[in-house]
Amino acid sequence: MITPDILVARFPGLELGQLQEWIAEGMLRAEPGPSFTEIDVARIALIMELRDELALDDAALPVVLSLLDQLYALRRELATLRCTPPPP
């Protein structure tokens, strides 16, 4: 089980308050506990990369993430569609 403490230890420069902020804004999701899964870890890495490496500011970050979420949802739907025969 991945706890907030493990995340803070794993990502240098990440603070608990920041984690809670992202969850409150809907940019990150947590299981009750709170605990996290592998995709959340990868998402934190992405958020930090977008913010620190690519210098996206706080206003742009949620917009980019929302568009990305829609893009990946569409890609998964399309992948499912390719495997599904058309209805009779």
């Binding site: 995709i39 990868a42 890495a45 996206l56 990305l68 990946y72 949802a73 998964r76 058309p86």
Partner: protein, 302 residues
Amino acid sequence: MADDPYGILGLKRDASADAIKAAYRKLARKHHPDLNPGKPEAEARFKAVSAAHDLLSDPDKRGRFDRGEIDAEGQEQRPPGGYRRHADAAQGARYDGQSGGSPFDDLFADMFEARRRAESAPRPGQDESYRLDVSFIDAMLGTTTPMRLPDGRSLSVRIPPGITTGQVLRLRGQGGPGRNGGAAGDALIGITVQEHPLLRREGRNIAMELPVSLREAVLGGPVEVPTPSGRLRVTLPAHSDSGRQIRLRGKGVAAHGAEPAGDLLLTLKVVIGPADAALDAFLRDWSPATMEDPRAALDFPA
């Protein structure tokens, strides 16, 4: 990564640290693999950009590279695009639209409906293409010819008079079968008209050479001429030279619809025939009434 890191970032060798950072960010935003799923070339570009930045953003490494002490190889590489793998998999649904349900439900519903309708709609059969060789005479007079298809069916093809090479006959309903009650496709038959050793087409007229004896040419009179329309009796005018043309109306390409029949154009050709002592003797003793030079018209400048 053996390419020049300055070139990869589009920088001059004296670029400042800020310029390096700015160039890197611009390219990284563009090529980040998580922002470009399904574009492997973006990942390769991102790796090159990251490696170039790693080298040039470290003043110590950059100095050693500039002095030629190290090359651009051997840079540690961060594994990029870690989020993409999760987001493309089933667990990616964790970050789908907040309101629940896919934002594309209506779009996909439309696509399914369109596909379902297309599958069940009556669909006409395919047109099938064939080739057919037609003899010169058949193309001139028209005919009906049987044609065997590769699938064993036999078609009766009506060749209209005057057909030419390259024309395509369409036989309705003789192509591929339709689906869901759709009409069958058509058979498209491309026509090639064969050459003829004696006959030539000139529009709707047919040209043919007519050999005549010396006697027939001089005295004229009726001769029997074999033609595509059968043997015809033709009266030659007296004193007909080689090259004289005789027009037999309506004996060319047969009439078809609004098109009237063409003509048969006979071009006379005088044939002396085998040696004949009597003819030789006659001509030797013969003195023409007028001494006309048949070559008078041949007038070349000296």
